[in-house]
Subunit: 241 residues, 2 copies
């Protein structure tokens, strides 16, 4: 029987990973926390598997996959075994099978309905972002306060007044919210999203959102990347390195 330590993920909350042993015991729900580092690598694996599939490649080893992605093969194998044993010893991983497994781990087999609040250029860009669609995210609501934007058709969706957002989210069953509004209104917008029933939010506003614990918030901070580059260029290694 497997046993996993009960851990707590400080930053992002707790998860439950269900482990049902093959032998016929009553189904056990064992708590197992997968680290964020692992979760963030899964989409990378998945995207590359899609590319491999397009290229007609059926089998890939952790060695080769790691080479393509700049990740060590050990890391890949370790990550995957958090969720099961998907490979074949001496052979490698079946590309389409592994892809399907990752889809189910991440939960992409369902098509998530996404609403975007704040249809400036960033919101506009995200509404048309191809990779989202490829991963199964469907934009089903666009919201803004600006009457010059309201009513416009963006990628097949008409922009709705943000005053109607809560109602629209509820009616359309939108599950994930993206916030691309100014920071000053982000909290208010997030509150309305939650009121409409949303439980997962991706926010581009550079501000900490205060939301009930059952809502999962992930902040995407575009200025960190540039700051990092500034740091590395400023503190670059010496020539003789």
């Amino acid at each position: 029987m497997f046993m996993y330590a009960v851990n707590f993920n400080r930053t992002e909350g707790r998860l439950i990973y269900k482990l049902c042993e093959a032998r016929k015991e009553p189904i056990m729900r064992q708590k197992k926390v997968i680290s964020d580092a692992v979760i963030e690598r899964l989409p990378l694996y998945y995207r590359d598997l899609l590319l491999l599939q397009d290229a007609g490649i059926d089998i890939i080893s952790s060695e080769k996959l790691g080479e393509r992605l700049g990740i060590t093969p050990e890391q890949i194998r370790k990550d995957l075994t958090c969720f099961g044993a998907f490979g074949k010893k001496g052979v490698g991983y079946y590309v389409s099978e592994l892809g399907q497994q990752i889809v189910e781990i991440i939960g992409l087999q369902q098509h998530w309905k996404v609403g975007i609040a704040g249809i400036g250029h960033l919101g506009w860009a995200l509404a048309n972002y191809k990779t989202f669609g490829r991963l199964g995210f469907r934009t089903e609501g666009l919201f803004d306060v600006d009457h010059r934007i309201i009513g416009q058709n963006v990628g097949g969706i008409v922009v709705t007044p943000i005053s109607e957002m809560e109602e629209t989210i509820r009616r359309a069953g939108i599950q994930i919210g993206i916030i691309t509004t100014p920071a000053s209104v982000a909290q208010q917008v997030a509150d309305q999203m939650v009121a409409g029933g949303i439980r997962g939010i991706l926010s581009f506003a550079p501000i900490r959102l205060n939301l009930p614990p059952h809502v999962y918030v992930f902040r995407e901070d575009l200025s960190i990347g540039l700051s990092r580059i500034s740091y590395y260029l400023t503190n670059k290694p010496e020539q003789d390195e």
Copy 2:
């Protein structure tokens, strides 16, 4: 005398941090690697310090700053001591002084010149992104292949044909490149940027760029955030938690 272990940062390369002791020894260049985790938190501290400054607050403790940011005070103090001792025991940190210190650590006292390749909505959004300007990043070049976009004025900059990018980068002394092109041309665009003299690239293309080791590349992957949310919503904790 301080001594630091010589470490190597696997993922991002090595850095040199200069430690010059107060006592009059020949200036030592001691290798010290600051982890990415620390570097990513610095801009958060800095941005909040700016807000505090705007609010007329002169002094802040690690305790209070941590509360505002959702980071433990110990973490903040530890991060800062990677670079020096900026606080006053029994008092806290002087907001503007600490801000200035962080500016110098990140290297934001200079105004970095930024060029953006691929002026779709994302590139457009970034070209007008206020936070970049506030941190001292100046957009000085916009490049695209589409003749419907070339010649347009975006936030005061005229979009230039990408065929002229290398020359423009060199002439204008652009130091940082942002890539918001389709993945299929990202490598080519990156190569041209490097040929023009750029040594730091922020790429939004979901592809691994192959560049000489002296170029620092940071990939911003917008679809990871949504995938994480999908994972957490799929594997959410049970009700009774």
